[in-house]
């Protein structure tokens, strides 16, 4: 019989965090630039 603990799936949370950071970081940069430009509607 195989050992139960050896079959437990690996913890994916670090990979999930990395993957979301990978796509999230440039998106935050884009949104920051967008907000900077959008404020010109009220200040320009």
């Amino acid at each position: 019989m195989s050992n139960d603990s050896s079959q437990s799936p690996p913890d994916r949370r670090p990979l999930i965090a990395f993957a979301w950071l990978w796509v999230g970081a440039p998106l935050v940069y884009g949104l920051y630039e967008l907000v900077q430009k959008a404020t010109q509607l009220f200040t320009g």
Partner: protein, 444 residues
């Protein structure tokens, strides 16, 4: 290539970032305008000529999504994302060669033709997989991915601008910028290729319905149903109405308030365009997620019905109130984005998850037509009105009436959507899924 099956314990929350890595990249297409002025000055091109790579890319997007959808379904998302990565990045590399040697046709071929294939295959690559992973929230899942396409331009526009400032706007600088784009996007998209997996079973989530619940229709069968063509009209009308504003947003807001005590400056108009982009993106995730709660038909009633009311408000009172004009335009653009993002889930409701990616690809031909129709209507009418001596908001009144008419046509088409007739259903739609646990059926 067989679809990559998720190992036991694979999280479905790894699939949206995989999809986003592709959509955020290919969304760069909407930031092409950054390259237009330097190309025109360094290669001596006209505005029409410098738009050619973008226009060809959008045509190729529609064609490759329509004709490549079946291959995407057959070979799986990793194959599709790999093709998208190779084509999109190669497009930039070929363009870099074109700029370095001052051979403009290479830029058209690279960015427009080769890169355009990457756009189409990349756009549809994660749709079917996301729907299978999120059978309980297909609208939200596809909304996240398709939001990425809107977000891609937000990233690329300032990034490309800064790169051209660093490298210079001559042909050598443009070549370097294209080269960096090709390499960086290849690395960025590789996350999607590496992470994407199809679920092991039809029920990747405990307690959620199967994505294959209900009738299943093949892509070939779907285009023979009136439902497909009703949705084609719905998408075409919704996109046309949105592009009608998006295309001329900056001159439109300037013209509307030119004769008032509070005219809109050039920088304020640029801010308005940026705000519309935000509404477009927010609508993709917001409205598409809402459709999971209130239903697909109802959300399109909102897009098309309330959209028509918004256009009517702009036409009647827009020039008397700037906040009202801005608010209505933002709502219309959020519906424009929402319409794009919700359509895969609507297709899944009607035709099942079996070949939803391929069906979605075929439906995107509506986008190609709308991309021509929307700007054509607004620009042509504005030019004619100007020739007739009109100015200000009067340039757009007739366009808005036409947009309201188009939205009503879309509304009626949505009302005509009924469940697909049983003669179009296929009996055993399982051979192309990675259903490795099907041999151990769960109790219903």
């Amino acid at each position: 290539m067989s679809p990559p099956v998720a190992p036991a314990g694979w999280s479905r929350w790894l699939v949206p970032p995989a999809a986003l890595s592709v959509h955020l990249s290919i969304g760069q297409a909407y930031a092409w305008s950054v390259f237009k002025p330097p190309l025109e000055s360094s290669l001596g091109l006209s505005g029409t000529q410098s738009a050619l790579p973008f226009q060809l890319a959008i045509v190729m997007l529609g064609l490759s999504a329509a004709f490549g959808g079946t291959f995407v379904e057959r070979n799986g998302p990793r194959w599709a994302m790999t093709v998208a990565l190779i084509c999109f990045s190669s497009g930039f590399l070929i363009s870099a060669l074109g700029a370095a040697t001052e051979q403009y046709w290479l830029i058209v071929l690279g960015y427009g033709f080769v890169g355009g294939i990457g756009l189409g295959i990349g756009y549809i690559s994660p749709v079917s997989t996301l729907i299978k992973w999120f059978p309980d929230r297909p609208g939200m899942a596809t909304g996240i991915a398709i939001m990425g396409f809107g977000g891609g331009a937000l990233i690329a526009s300032p990034w490309s601008t800064q790169m051209l400032e660093s490298f210079g706007s001559d042909s050598s600088g443009i070549a370097k910028a294209f080269l960096v784009h090709g390499l960086v996007y290849a690395v960025f998209m590789s996350l999607g290729v590496l992470l994407v997996r199809v679920p092991r079973s039809e029920k990747p989530v405990e307690g959620a319905p199967s994505a294959f619940q209900g009738p299943q229709v093949s892509a070939r069968g779907a285009v023979r149903t009136p439902q497909f063509w009703c949705l084609w009209v719905v998408l075409c009308m919704n996109v046309t109405a949105g592009i009608g504003i998006l295309e001329k947003a900056a001159p439109m807001i300037t013209d509307f308030f030119a004769d008032t005590s509070t005219p809109v400056s050039v920088s304020a108009a640029a801010g308005f365009v940026a705000l519309l982009s935000a509404a477009n993106m927010a609508g993709r995730i917001g409205w598409s997620s809402t459709s999971d709660l209130i239903g697909r038909k109802n959300i399109y009633r909102v897009y098309l019905g309330v959209g028509a009311v918004m256009y009517a408000l702009i036409a009647l009172f827009g020039d008397s109130s700037k906040p009202l004009f801005i608010l209505c335009a933002l709502v219309i653009l959020s519906f424009y984005g929402g319409g794009f993002a919700t359509i895969p889930a609507y297709l899944k409701d009607l035709f099942g998850a079996y070949q939803v990616g391929a069906i979605h690809g075929r439906l995107l031909t509506a986008w190609s037509l709308a991309g021509v129709l929307g700007p054509l209507i607004v620009n042509w009418i504005a030019d004619r009105q100007e020739d007739a001596g009109k100015h200000g908001s009067a340039l757009y009144g007739l366009s808005f009436v036409i947009m309201i008419g188009l939205l009503v046509v879309g509304f009626v088409a949505n009302e005509l959507v009924r469940p697909v007739d049983a003669r179009h259903h296929i009996p055993a739609p399982r051979e192309e899924t990675a259903d490795v646990e099907r041999q151990q059926p769960e109790s219903a």
